[in-house]
């Protein structure tokens, strides 16, 4: 049952990524050129609603559908890992025009070359795992 819920959420996510064009390389390029409000509108409106939502959940101690407490894990305090990691991610995001969610949506949409991006993204993750202890965090 829970598996079906996760699958349904994923399907909604995939449809949204494709239909909102957040999975389009062109939209990402246009965003970094500051030539359209589209991507800023998507991320911005999701964020405004998200902030209100998280505040309400915390303020009123709203429980999950299963009656459990909803926990938000604070991320470790640091500057370098977020800045360096963020810059590296941004370079790739602009080049491949896809982030880790939309990448998979594009497989479903039938763009086979995106598989190259996914295989190398997995390889990049592996590379990070190997070098982790040598990098500033």
């Amino acid at each position: 049952m829970r598996t079906l819920i996760y699958l349904a959420i994923g399907i909604l996510f995939g449809i949204t990524m494709f239909k909102s064009e957040a999975a389009s390389w062109f939209r990402i390029y246009e965003m970094f050129k500051f030539e359209s409000f589209h991507m800023y509108g998507i991320i911005g409106s999701a964020l405004v609603i998200g902030i209100v939502m998280v505040q309400l959940i915390k303020r009123f101690d709203i429980k999950s559908f299963y009656g459990e407490k909803i926990v938000f894990n604070p991320k470790n305090k640091s500057f370098s890992r977020y800045m360096y990691g963020g810059i590296i991610f941004g370079l790739g995001w602009a080049l491949a025009g896809a982030c880790p969610g939309p990448m998979f949506t594009l497989v479903g949409a039938g763009y086979l070359p995106i598989l190259v991006v996914i295989v190398f993204a997995i390889l990049g993750t592996f590379l990070y795992g190997l070098l982790k202890d040598k990098l500033p965090h």
Binding site: M17, F18, F72, F89, G92, P100, V117
Partner: protein, 185 residues
């Protein structure tokens, strides 16, 4: 009905993403897609090479199911919920992309120069895709999250680390487009 077949404006896409985050929170999970890349490494046996991959990947099974849904969603949206998938970007952006050699700008969903199957015999653009993927995978794990984990989930919880990461995303993206693109395209 129109909304089902035409591209969604930002004020539909954004709120639905917020709804997805809400649903995941309500089933006790956190929205974050790049973790799946780590899980896939672990499934492939990366735990033998680095401790970072030593964890019970079954605890992340739910997220692999979400990502499987994302694949199915992409199939459904492109096959049954779209009439014209060309992305109507700013004419200025089209002009700009044309001058870089992207003739498909404004006429397709993805640049055919990079995402048509002919790229498999085009060494240069194949390398572009590979390096793009490598940077995304490496950077997302180094930063501890991607667009969903930091820009949506993390910022929604007003996390300073996520703000730093998102600023980093933009520095990287701008450097790529303004400084690197003119050199490679």
């Amino acid at each position: 009905m129109d909304l089902l077949f035409t591209p969604w404006p930002w004020y539909v896409g954004g709120p639905v993403i917020a709804l997805i985050m809400f649903l995941l929170l309500m089933v006790g999970k956190n929205f974050g897609m790049s973790s799946n890349l780590r899980t896939l490494c672990t499934i492939c046996g990366a735990g033998n090479k680095a401790d970072f991959f030593k964890f019970d990947w079954r605890s992340q099974r739910w997220n692999l199911v979400v990502v499987t849904g994302a694949i199915i969603g992409g199939f459904l949206a492109s096959q049954f919920l779209s009439l014209d998938i060309s992305v109507n970007i700013n004419p200025e952006t089209v002009k700009d992309l044309n001058s870089l050699g992207f003739e498909s700008a404004g006429k397709a969903y993805l640049p055919t120069e990079l995402f048509d199957n002919s790229v498999f015999t085009d060494m240069k653009n194949l390398v572009v895709l590979a390096i793009g993927g490598l940077l995304v995978g490496f950077g997302a794990r180094y930063a501890g999250g991607c667009t969903s984990g930091h820009a949506i989930s993390g910022l929604s919880d007003l996390q300073v680390p996520s703000l730093i990461a998102v600023i980093g995303f933009f520095i990287g993206g701008l450097v790529m487009i303004y400084l690197v693109f003119p050199l490679i395209f």
